[in-house]
Symmetry: C2
Subunit: 321 residues, 2 copies
């Protein structure tokens, strides 16, 4: 559901309307029944009780609704509340539970909708975002965040840390492990069997042979060389002010960057409305639209559901492979 006061519920319903349901795929919306029935109209979503959901008893296809409980009583779009934040979190946990209970032979995926990190952190101290919460919930040692757009596919090696901490956080192991997770899921990420991967430099002009920083020589270069032994279609370090130009032209399929803004700035510039955030390494598929709760436009019917639609489609591609 995401935060019930945000655009999450609306974009979920609009995206599901655009998906051809009934082709053997079971869509389960996890959220507040009043919020969803209020938006969709009564009877559109088939409610499944928490007991049936816990036993994974769902109708064979179509769209089901599971309400994990804790009625919101008067949810108002644009007005986030502590209760709403708590419910957005219990929806995530219910999704994790359902995915873990999925019977053998059925493949499952989680698509999350935007939550307010600050609001969830207020009811769940230590919450920093979906990615880290799911990492803990699934007991994953290392996860990788991938942004999949129509034009670019990018991977930040480090994520939400201060820029000054980036150089010290980079190790050959971290870079190699990230590359391996990307290589393992390269078809899901890129849609190509054999995508080319370019790894960004950290410093301007790729460090100019050590004159503008040594990380290219000491850390990134050796990591790329090690990874290339298993997957030769990888190269780097490549100057960041060249690699995105090449990626936009289609000469590079996936760009691995050293820090958040290095790839997110070019990515959002050209894929703002269609970006999908995907988490690799969970052992389960998880995608998410690449935007926030947008409380300012929630409930007005004007939110673009393109990113949510792309997130659902990417999850479908992932479970099919």
């Amino acid at each position: 559901m995401g935060d019930p006061a945000g655009i999450g519920p609306g974009i979920i319903l609009n995206a599901l309307r655009d998906i051809r349901t009934g082709d053997g795929v079971l869509y389960v919306v996890i959220g507040d029944r009043d919020v969803f029935n209020g938006l969709a109209g009564p009877g559109v979503l088939r409610e499944v009780s928490p007991e049936d959901a816990a036993a994974f008893r769902f109708p064979g296809s179509g769209i089901s609704l599971v309400d994990p409980g804790g009625a919101l009583e008067g949810n108002v779009f644009g007005k986030p509340t502590e209760k709403g934040a708590a419910k957005s979190l219990s929806c995530i946990d219910t999704a994790v539970d359902l995915v873990k209970r999925t019977p053998e032979g059925i493949k499952s995926a989680i698509v999350t909708a935007p939550v307010s990190k600050e609001a969830v952190a207020a009811v769940c101290p230590g919450f920093v975002g979906h990615t880290e919460h799911l990492q803990k919930a699934f007991g994953a040692e290392k996860v990788t965040m991938v942004m999949v757009g129509e034009k670019l596919k990018v991977v930040p090696v480090t994520r939400h840390i201060p820029l000054k901490d980036v150089p010290g956080s980079l190790t050959p192991e971290l870079i190699v492990d990230t590359i391996r997770q990307v290589v393992a899921d390269r078809y899901i990420v890129s849609g190509a069997e054999d995508p080319s991967i370019a790894v960004c430099a950290l410093n301007p002009h790729c460090g100019e042979g050590g004159r503008i920083g040594r990380e290219e020589l000491d850390i990134i270069g050796p990591a790329v060389a090690a990874a290339a032994r298993d997957y030769p279609r990888i190269k780097g370090p490549v100057s960041a002010d060249v690699v995105f130009y090449k990626a936009l032209k289609g000469e590079v399929d996936i760009v691995l960057s050293m820090y958040h803004d290095q790839c997110l700035s070019p990515f959002k510039m050209v894929d703002f409305d269609r970006g999908v955030n995907m988490t690799l390494g969970l052992g389960h598929v998880r995608t998410s639209p690449d935007h926030g709760t947008a409380f300012d436009i929630a409930g007005k019917g004007i939110a673009d559901h393109g990113s949510m639609l792309a997130a659902i489609k990417l999850a479908l591609r992932a479970v099919e492979n």
Copy 2:
């Protein structure tokens, strides 16, 4: 001329062919006579002796050639030499000299062509690039590098330094001084009388209120607030993964970034072939195409002269204002 073994001479001639000359503007090519006459054919460029050039005696319009001396004897495109690098440097110094000698009432500008930094540094220890060399030659206390493209106009506050040194290099004074140079030349940079200027954050998500770094609160925010007292059409810090999307949509005219790749990566992605590098603060106009010597394609007649053409046109706009 730039490096005579690079694409500089060719793109200069091709760009000048595309410019409507003869409208009261005097174009002076400073370079090797054999190289230029070899490319243009004899008699196309009117050679002016160093003595006449030193006395600023030029024909009233058209294209003149000044050769500062030091014949190259057998320049080969794609094969840079020490002699060629030395001559590319003496061309720059001749340009500085001519600009300084420009008679009252005549406006002048320098457009530089790409040199090989490494090759020039070998004959002139300490040479790191045109910008710093010209800063010293003109005795400028502070200069600002601006990249002017068709789609984006961007300004890095710090330039060619290791990423790890960026946070420590940022001070409110540096940011305010950079903003002031941009504001002073805002029409030249943007083509608008009253452009909006956005200043990038340093950390992901604009530091999230101090949770992901404090530079936004301690350094960038106060600098923007101080600068906004003189020029209200400035705002920031703005998250870097949002500001370039807005700039590409036309909602922001000029983006000031904290470091090289933060703005050069988005810039080159969409303005690779038309970017112009401009130096503010010299007391004289200086522009340059935003690419290197491209030794690999030099002399083949295939180099795109669009960036050089844009650099000349921007220099014309600058001297007209």
